[in-house]
Symmetry: C2
Subunit: 448 residues, 2 copies
C-alpha cells in the first residue's frame, strides 16, 4: 500500500473539478472561497456520527501535486489550455483549513471541516476530501454503536475480506479502533498504526487435519501461548469437550502451552455460548474465554449481551467494514462564500446554509451535552467551539494527535452525550438539539 508521496492522488478526482478549475482560471476568478463539509441528514439508524479521517485528508491536501505524466494525460483530453496545465504543474495548496478533531461526535448540517482558499484550490480538493473523510466517518460511526452495544466486552475488527478493496480494509481498521474497538485482524493496520492485532484460526485448518482433536493439539502445541481455537467446524459441544480435556492434560503436564479462548462462528450463538461455558466450567476451565463471531452487528451484539450470553469478546466483520445498514452518508462539500459574499444552493431538498460557520456545544452542570449551536464564524456562543484551525497557508497548524489520544477523546466525548442519543434503536423524534444563531438565520434569509 506504499504510495509515491504526494503526486499519486491528483487524478483521483471527478473530471468536473478540473473542468471547473480550468473555467475559473480562464475567467481569472482568483478570489477566496469558503467550502464546508457536512452531512445533510443522518441515516435513520444513526443518532450521532463520529468525525474521522482528518489526518489522512490533511496529508492529501498538503501533498497534492500534478506530475508530468498526469499533465500529459490531461493535455491529451484536448480541453485544457497550456497556461492552465502550467498552473496545475506548479499547484500547491495555500489555504486555511478548520476542522473538528477526529473522534468528535457531530450531527446533521454541522460543518466538520471548512476550507478557505482561492476558489480553484478549494474546488480541486472536493472529491477526494469527501472520499477520505466520508469513509472513516462512516465506519467510526458504525463502530461507536458496536462499542455501546458490547458494554465493555472486547471488540475485534474481522472485516478486511469484505471491505471495499484494500484502502477500505485498512482505514476501516483505523476508524473502528479510533471509535473504541480493541483490536483488528488486519496485519497491515497493526504495522502502520500500532493497532493491536488479533487472530485465531479458520475452519480450513481444522478440516485439513484428519480429525478435530489432532488439529486442536497441533495448533496449541505450535503456539507459544494464548491460543484461540475455533470450535464450530463440526459439532460445537463435542469440540468444547475436546478443548477442556486438552487444557486439563496440558495443565497436568505443567505445559507452557495452553488455550486462552474458543471461538464460535455459526449457529445459535446464545445457546451455543451458554452450552460451551457450562461444558468448560464443568471441566474446571473457567479461565478459557469465549469469542463470538459470524454475521454480528451492534443489534445482535446488544441482543446477545442482554440475553446473558457468556461472551468475552465479539468479532465484527462485514457489517462493520461496509457499514451494512447505512453504507453511505449524505455528505457534501459546499460553497458557502465567494469573494466575501455568502452563497447558497437552493435546489429542492439540498438547500445549504450560507457563510463560514462554527459549532458550539453547550454542556449542563453535570457535564452532559445539552445542545449544539451553529453560528457564523466569529460569533460568540455558550459552550465549546468544535472547529479549530488545522492548516494555515497550506501547512499543518500543529502535529496530528496520536491515534490513542483520538481514541481516548472520542470515548470521553461520546460519554458526554445524553443517554437518549446513545440508544441503538432508530432515532425517531428524540434527536439531539441543534439550533442556529439569529445572525445565521438572518444571513440565510438575506441570501434567498
Amino acid at each position: 500500500m506504499t504510495r509515491i508521496p504526494g503526486s499519486a492522488d491528483a487524478l483521483l478526482t471527478d473530471l468536473y473539478q478540473l473542468t471547473m478549475a480550468a473555467a475559473y482560471f480562464g475567467e481569472d476568478m482568483r478570489e477566496t472561497a469558503v467550502f464546508e463539509l457536512f452531512v445533510r441528514r443522518l441515516p435513520p439508524t444513526r443518532r450521532f456520527l463520529i468525525a474521522a479521517g482528518l489526518e489522512r485528508a490533511l496529508e492529501f491536501i498538503g501533498a497534492l501535486r500534478f506530475t508530468a505524466t498526469q499533465l500529459e494525460f490531461l493535455a491529451r483530453q484536448g480541453s485544457f489550455s497550456q497556461p492552465f496545465l502550467d498552473y496545475l504543474g506548479a499547484f500547491r495548496f495555500t489555504g486555511t483549513v478548520h476542522a473538528m478533531p477526529e473522534g468528535s461526535p457531530f450531527f446533521a448540517e454541522e460543518p466538520i471541516l471548512r476550507v478557505t482558499a482561492p476558489i480553484i484550490e478549494a474546488q480541486l480538493l472536493e472529491s477526494r476530501i469527501i472520499n477520505i473523510i466520508h469513509f472513516q466517518t462512516l465506519i467510526a460511526s458504525k463502530a461507536a454503536r458496536c462499542v455501546l452495544a458490547a458494554g465493555g466486552r472486547r471488540l475485534i475488527d474481522f472485516g478486511m475480506r469484505r471491505a471495499h478493496e484494500g484502502d477500505a480494509a485498512l482505514f476501516a481498521a483505523r476508524a473502528a479502533y479510533l471509535a473504541g474497538f480493541d483490536a483488528t485482524a488486519t496485519v497491515e493496520a497493526g504495522r502502520r498504526w500500532g493497532i493491536p492485532i488479533s487472530g485465531t484460526v479458520a475452519h480450513s485448518y481444522i478440516e485439513a487435519h484428519d480429525d478435530e482433536d489432532r488439529a486442536f493439539r497441533n495448533f496449541t502445541m505450535g503456539r507459544p501461548a494464548h491460543t484461540t481455537l475455533l470450535i464450530d467446524t463440526y459439532d460445537t459441544g463435542h469440540a468444547a469437550e475436546r478443548v477442556a480435556r486438552l487444557q486439563s492434560e496440558l495443565r497436568a503436564q505443567r505445559s507452557t502451552h495452553g488455550i486462552d479462548s474458543v471461538r464460535i462462528d455459526s449457529g445459535d450463538l446464545e445457546v451455543l455460548a451458554k452450552d460451551v461455558r457450562r461444558i468448560l466450567d464443568e471441566h474446571g476451565c473457567q479461565d478459557i474465554r469465549i469469542v463470538l463471531s459470524g454475521g454480528l452487528d451492534e443489534l445482535r451484539i446488544a441482543a446477545l449481551v442482554s440475553s446473558g450470553a457468556p461472551a468475552d469478546a465479539f468479532g465484527v466483520g462485514t457489517s462493520l467494514d461496509v457499514s451494512a445498514d447505512a453504507p453511505a452518508l449524505d455528505m457534501a462539500y459546499k460553497l458557502q462564500m465567494y469573494a466575501g459574499r455568502p452563497r447558497r444552493k437552493r435546489s429542492p431538498g439540498k438547500a445549504t446554509w450560507p457563510g463560514a460557520k462554527q459549532v458550539f456545544r453547550e454542556y449542563g452542570p453535570d457535564g452532559v451535552a445539552l445542545r449544539d449551536r451553529i453560528v457564523l464564524d466569529g460569533e460568540r456562543a455558550a459552550g465549546t467551539p468544535l472547529l479549530a484551525e488545522v492548516m494555515k497557508s497550506g501547512r499543518p497548524s500543529a502535529t496530528s494527535p496520536s491515534l490513542e489520544t483520538i481514541r481516548r477523546d472520542c470515548s470521553r466525548h461520546i460519554r458526554a452525550l445524553p443517554k437518549y442519543v446513545l440508544q441503538l434503536d432508530d432515532g425517531g423524534s428524540a434527536a439531539f438539539s441543534v439550533i442556529r444563531s439569529a445572525a445565521l438565520e438572518a444571513l440565510a434569509a438575506g441570501a434567498e
Copy 2:
C-alpha cells in the same frame, strides 16, 4: 495510487492466515490443497452476479512477496519462528488457478475461482483474494442491473466521492464499465484503463458567479465544445430558457462553442425532464440532450424510463459505488480438498460442497441459457465449461483479455440469460436453475 510492485500487499491480510501458515509449516503439512471461491447465497435483490476482479487478483498472486520490513514486523510479534519467517522471505506462489473469465454471470454456490497449491500458499491468498474479487463482483453486479434498467441510454459512474476510499473509487469505475456503463467521472480510471471520462459542472461554479446567466455563458465560451450545463441550482425551468436563448445566440453567431446537454440533479426528475425537454424543443434546441442524476439507482432509472422521462443519459453515484441495497456479498473461499481427500465444512448454514469442481452452462437451441450444472472437475456435462486455467506454476496461463473484450463478452453473456433472470424485482421463486451432478452429490454424502 502507484504501488511498489509486489511487496506491498503481503500484510494486507488477516493475522490468522499467517498463524495458520506457521502451523502448517511447523507440522510440515505441505500437501496440495484445493480452495474455491464462491457466493453462498445471492442478496434478495440480485438474480445473478457478474464475476469481476480476476485481473487484479492474478496480479496480486503473482507479485506476492514479503519484504524485510514486513518480516521484521512479524518477528516483533514474538509468535513466529525464524525458519517460518525465512520461508516467508523466500515465498513465491507456485500453484495453479482456474477461474470464470471476468464478465461471466454466475449464481449461488458456483465456484468462480479455484486455487490448487501447497496448503500454505493457497491459505495465504484467502483474505486479499476475497477482498479484491468481492468488491469488483459486487459493483459489476449492481452496474449490470443499471444497464438493464437504462434500456440503451448512456450511463455514467458519478460515485467516486462516496465510494469506500481510493481503491474502491477506482475499481468501481472499472467494474461498472466492464458491466456496460459508458463512462466514469473518475479521471484516474480514465488514465489507467482508457475508460471514457465524462464531467459537467457543479453547483458551486454556478453559485460562485453573481448570476446564473453569466455562469452559463462563461462556462460555454471557455470550453472547446460539447458543454454540459447544470440547470437546477436555482429554478430549473428558468435555467432551461437561459440555455435555449444562449444556444440560439451562439447559433446565430455561427460560434464554434455550443451546449451539448443539460444536467438536472434534484427535484422531481420526471416532471423537470419533461418540462425542460418541452422548453428546449420550443426554442428549437432539439439537439440538446438531458442528463439526469441525483440519488439514482436501477429502480429509479427503470421508473424514469417507463414514465417516458426524456432522459438521454443517467449519472449514477453512491448507490452504484457502494452497491447500496446490497453492500456486501456472502463470498467465501473454502478448502474443498487436501492431500487428495475431499473436505467439507458442516457448520450450520455454512456447509460446503467438497471436491474440486467445474460449472457447465447449458444453452437451448435459441442460444438462451437453460441451466447450470456443478460437477466434479474432470466430469463431462452438456454445455460450456465456465472455469478455465488462468495460472499455472505461479505464472499466468495467458495474457488477460482487454477491458473492452471483457465488456463485450459480459454484454453477450447477459443477453443469453433467460428473460426472467433479467428482471429487476426481487428474485422470488424464479431463480435460475443450478443443479449438481450425481457424482458431486455422492461425494458430499460420503464426506458427511
